[in-house]
Amino acid sequence: MKPEISSLQTDNFDDHSSIESTLRTYLQPVVPRDEFVDRLRGKLEQQVLPIQKRRVISFYRLLEVTLQTMALMVITVLTVRVFLIILTTWKILRTSNVR
């Protein structure tokens, strides 16, 4: 394919200013479609909600784990205490029986 003689070709790129002039002529900003900009904004807004939700969920998850750990510790302490009481009682009873 041979391109037609274009203004690009006819421009004399002898110096920087002619290249700059060509770039200035042809590289002009474009505007994105309004529908695209609005749709993307909507998408971004929808993304915010799950992020906030995840944050709340992670807070409750942390609270749940903390409470579970505390409950486990209380149960462990109580179990040990009950075991010790039983052991002590058994020892006392045993001593009294021996006498």
Binding site: Q9, L23, Y26, L27, Q28, P29, P32, L40, K43, E45
Partner: protein, 193 residues
Amino acid sequence: MNERVFRVEEKSEEQILALASAGDEEAFAWLYQKYVTRIYNYVYFRTGNAAEAEDLTAKVFMRAMKHIRNYRDLGLPFSAWLYRIAHNLVANWHRDNGRKKEIPLDDALPLPVLSKHPESEVVKREETEKLLRIIRKLPPERQQLIILKFVEQLSNAEIGAIMGKSEGAIKSLYHRTLLSLREEYERYFEDFE
């Protein structure tokens, strides 16, 4: 909500950035509105395709929103951070599409200046397409420089801030870019002769 937006607009960009980093969605919306066209332009001129530009622009802002909490103000403009994301995504896109046929400028592209003569619009579109084909033969850094300078119309200092270089380095790179552009231009037309 309008009241909220109004209050956001009263603040400086640094304050808005701080709000956005703290998860304020209105602040992020303000940043989005300010930069969406610039990022779209950058991606569009790097890919030459409106559909891809929309897709990649969406990815840039999705990624920005995901990581805005990690954003730290290092004295660079916020746009530099966005351009960096865009630059990486465009590089990935070029890598993934490297072997595919070159995509021409989208016909559905809204041209910036509407003429009363459709023929001249068509000619201008073709000329732009040729020029972009030549520009895309340059290394990514030089393409970025040309787009920031001529499409975004930024100063050398602003481009330096975005590209992480000094103003002098940008001047030097710009000079080399124009030289290589001339060489690419000559090679392009020699190929057809």
